[in-house]
Symmetry: D2
Subunit: 365 residues, 4 copies
Amino acid sequence: MTTQKKAGVLGATGSVGQRFILLLSEHPDFKLEVLGASARSAGKRYEDAVTWKQTFLLPESAKDIEISECTVEAFKDCDVVFSGLDHDYAGPIEKAFKEAGLAVVSNAKNYRREPDVPLIVPITNTDHLSVIEEKINKAKTAGQEKPGFIACISNCSTAGLVAPLKPLVDDFGPLDLITTTTLQAISGAGYSPGVPGIDIIDNIVPFIGSEEEKIEWETKKILGTVNASKDGFNLISEEDLKVSAQCTRVPVSDGHTECISFRFKNRPAPSVEQVKESLRNYVCEASKLGCHSAPKNAIHVLEQENRPQPRLDRDRDNGFGVSVGRVREDTVLDFKMVVLSHNTIIGAAGAGILIAEILLKKGLI
Amino acid sequence: MTTQKKAGVLGATGSVGQRFILLLSEHPDFKLEVLGASARSAGKRYEDAVTWKQTFLLPESAKDIEISECTVEAFKDCDVVFSGLDHDYAGPIEKAFKEAGLAVVSNAKNYRREPDVPLIVPITNTDHLSVIEEKINKAKTAGQEKPGFIACISNCSTAGLVAPLKPLVDDFGPLDLITTTTLQAISGAGYSPGVPGIDIIDNIVPFIGSEEEKIEWETKKILGTVNASKDGFNLISEEDLKVSAQCTRVPVSDGHTECISFRFKNRPAPSVEQVKESLRNYVCEASKLGCHSAPKNAIHVLEQENRPQPRLDRDRDNGFGVSVGRVREDTVLDFKMVVLSHNTIIGAAGAGILIAEILLKKGLI
Amino acid sequence: MTTQKKAGVLGATGSVGQRFILLLSEHPDFKLEVLGASARSAGKRYEDAVTWKQTFLLPESAKDIEISECTVEAFKDCDVVFSGLDHDYAGPIEKAFKEAGLAVVSNAKNYRREPDVPLIVPITNTDHLSVIEEKINKAKTAGQEKPGFIACISNCSTAGLVAPLKPLVDDFGPLDLITTTTLQAISGAGYSPGVPGIDIIDNIVPFIGSEEEKIEWETKKILGTVNASKDGFNLISEEDLKVSAQCTRVPVSDGHTECISFRFKNRPAPSVEQVKESLRNYVCEASKLGCHSAPKNAIHVLEQENRPQPRLDRDRDNGFGVSVGRVREDTVLDFKMVVLSHNTIIGAAGAGILIAEILLKKGLI
Amino acid sequence: MTTQKKAGVLGATGSVGQRFILLLSEHPDFKLEVLGASARSAGKRYEDAVTWKQTFLLPESAKDIEISECTVEAFKDCDVVFSGLDHDYAGPIEKAFKEAGLAVVSNAKNYRREPDVPLIVPITNTDHLSVIEEKINKAKTAGQEKPGFIACISNCSTAGLVAPLKPLVDDFGPLDLITTTTLQAISGAGYSPGVPGIDIIDNIVPFIGSEEEKIEWETKKILGTVNASKDGFNLISEEDLKVSAQCTRVPVSDGHTECISFRFKNRPAPSVEQVKESLRNYVCEASKLGCHSAPKNAIHVLEQENRPQPRLDRDRDNGFGVSVGRVREDTVLDFKMVVLSHNTIIGAAGAGILIAEILLKKGLI
């Protein structure tokens, strides 16, 4: 407990920020110390500034924290800063924080495509953090100050897609075709305005702005590799892997369902049983490292024919575990299956916390 | 009006039967005369026997009809019989009706795969009715009585899939790969028990029994052709066309949304604009024949990026028109798009009525 | 048809304005000529300016109308102006229109409490329009120009409450206690922002700003009488009638359900059967006048124990009829019952249209 | 741990039974030993017999238990038996268990109205358990075996109503008028059939069979007193207290919302602030006894104007705490307010567990 790291939250009054705060309260590794929000909120007690909209109560420990503006000065003593900033604001703030030597774990999309910024699903591609490790080691060797960095959380629906595919790539080699049709919960759209109620009662909205492009691009980075010099990433080329996403919004509060299909490059493809076996046996690095929030099972393979279902399965391993069901052969590609992931936990704020736990275990914060 | 045909409804108290009755009340071509249900209901006034669950009121004209048992004797004077029977009961009853010379339009799945039974989406493959025409003509030539027949309504989610694909096949040649992920409304599951409320509030059920198999098989019959001797159908072979469906149940009352993708056999594939043009220009035979329920537009091509949506678009052309949106290129197959169809109208009872209207216009009833 | 009156709509791009436009397209009495919206929209074609969100398509006849600013000049030739303006804007605009001699039927709340402005539920208290009639007659007698006026549409949940109570007051004398707990649909909250989806999936919000006060006050005006000099209204005093409302928002798209109870001043109270008989026999003035949109039955008395239900009953008489069920004795007051009314038809835009039809039949526009 | 009591569950495969099992797994006081179900399930492993429908996984400890028939013989070693039996079966079974000397805590309605059976809301009227205590003491004094008994869990919506009223009665004297309009979740209706999905999407059902009668009757027993001889209860008479309920089913998974109003017999009535103070200060006996599941706060008084809400507030104190909001004066009675209670926890299975914990602390099992 004496070694708790100091944590800050950018965008503290927003919905991602609120979830960071919930997950940080009573966290063994981190102590919430600084909350940053807009100039309008700065100076107020957190409880007075926030419109709290979570199913858990506002933690006592956060109520009285005085909100700061999102300046380096205010966060300079933080060991790690979680950013729940809207992408309209995240760009210059996160850049300034990084340049000031701070460790930033961000849910914003602004730097996901930067060549040296790891884009992390914490149950999936934590080897990508070696790019940060290398940067820190180089600085150390050169006798320089520990450099700041940004580690990005992936898009929520990307997380659900790659989580079960990565173990399969590890065991059976690369994929060359992936399709996903997503049925996404509304909590991911935030609150003001988010998804209007009249759009989502007795209805489906078959479009989410930029979502399909995010999935299609991010998958190629996350399933890609760290390059040899460890200063960036080899994205999988469009030639080697085609990803096609169709995204819809559905009347579900939490939990993204995805109907996915995929094809392996190598022939013969594994059997259905081999695929399930691979998923069942998968243990993520966060679990091996003993991280506090790491799921007992990163991937749950369900055998009932009508699962996973968001209401019943989204809270597996407190939302850090992903559920897979209906693994079966596909006549068009090799396999099809249904994946369920908790969009605000493993797909957003929770992922940020687990990334930070891994960074801590690896000695990077 | 003097020429109204006499109509009967089998399974009159069930949800499909109720919709047949609604659509037949005040119909210019048909007069509802006989209602068949189980022995338990037989002898009662319809109003007393039915638990009416429609948004329109029980038509006055149906209230006092005395329910019959589902026997040939009771329906022998009907020019056309609409069957909303559950498949557990439909088999022997529909067979007996056909053998007795009656014209049966059935929503049950029992005879859909029979080699000489047309499986019809009435805005799509009405040319398949020539098999019935041929049979009647042969009997006439042979001086025999007009033979009975069964014409089957397709599965609801099959209808939404093939409706926009058939015009494309007509214009650009065969498809060799089709995928669909369906987001299906609950009204199609009927009422007792149907989909339990607790399964569908804030939830998705990613499984519908036998639905994927139905779509995958029926598509090959509907997109297939009448054989040369006109006594049956050439199904498209698995080699020539692969269809892959993933079916989910969503919290929507009426209207199936499908995210589909497909590939043409011929290269080069048409452009997005050509695809949309083809769909916009499509006029179904029912419209050409001037059928009462035929949609003004069988296919509506929507240009707004977030349409079609079930609550807003399901009632186009009284549910007989299908809406298509988000037509765009697909990296894995050629195109992807979103289709919306009203599952209880063009996907079930409404289809039956329109099939009968077409049969009438063709002189087959 | 040659006598169609010229109609304008204020707030034409908003959700109430859109419904006015829908109801005016193909209306036999009115011809839509002028559409008013904010300066930002003015000058655009209506189709280009509006985000159309109705289940019926944007009428062809409205698409090309060029939007005007909400000035008297633009609307000066209108025989009637329907106002769907937000109350933030309605005040000065509606006042100016009235002073310029225009006939305004408004959905805004701004002038509902004015002593000389009738607050009308068009199936309920159309006798209140005599205040306008008197004003016009006086001007005529004095040789003055026909004066402008405002007629206000009641709050949506007030409409559902008073509609079945007024016939009872007519038949059995005054009420002294009324309670209502409302379960209100989200369509009434409009669109930007309206009710956020995340607030209403798997949830109830037991509060609607100012709604309870509106119901409690408006009921006393609507159930009150025109004063002797016919220049205003006698509100029922708090001493004579106490109204208590509890308002909630529920996951329903259209249709307000209200669980109401009430007590008559006179003893003995009527029987349940007498109450139902009174409701069944009620014929509203709009029906007697033969108004185009008048419901066949203003009040539908349902006998099934689990009705009315919004999805099944909201569209009775195209939304102009109110449904009442579960009429039974109450141990605390005299009676309790469940009322269902379509909040955007009889509770908003539809009411405005029907009010205008009545004004027309009475020769007031 | 060495003193864990042996627990059995009747109706173990049903939805109430499943929740008993969840709450008993890892319970410090009770060890689940016997599961009873129908003859059809008897002999099977629990995991094989049950269709598990909970958001938490089936506890490992229950999976392998062999299901017994619901006979005294099978349960004879149990210190306490929780009954989740349907009322169609509960009558003779629970009676036999009681007569055999077993302690039964039942969710069925069969014996709630028995003069000597306590009807308990465990955060409300635990003093009523003295009737059981007296019976046991008498037997002890007479040198007889410890007698069996039944303690009944109240109806779910009764629990939400009386929980906040009891502290007020304690502080300010009796009530003479109570009204409640309930907005009830669907989980309480169970699963086969429960509430059909098509009835509850975009809909309200304003009727729940027998529910209003249960609330109106049970309130008078629960707010009543133990009689002087401690062998039964003084129900409040209809003359002294009138209760009127209107019950509706709403599209909410868990959590009953009730809009209640009430009047005190004594004048002057307390102030709003006094009412809130009384509710805030209330500490239930279960908390004083230190029961494992006792809520930290039996009553949460919320000050935000739009709370409580089911999705946000139902899980307070793991569902054992009741939330109250919008306490305000009522023009018809004295006060009105909104109450939220978790229908399957404090309104059903959870109540049973907490009752048993209290019985244990009192030395009655």
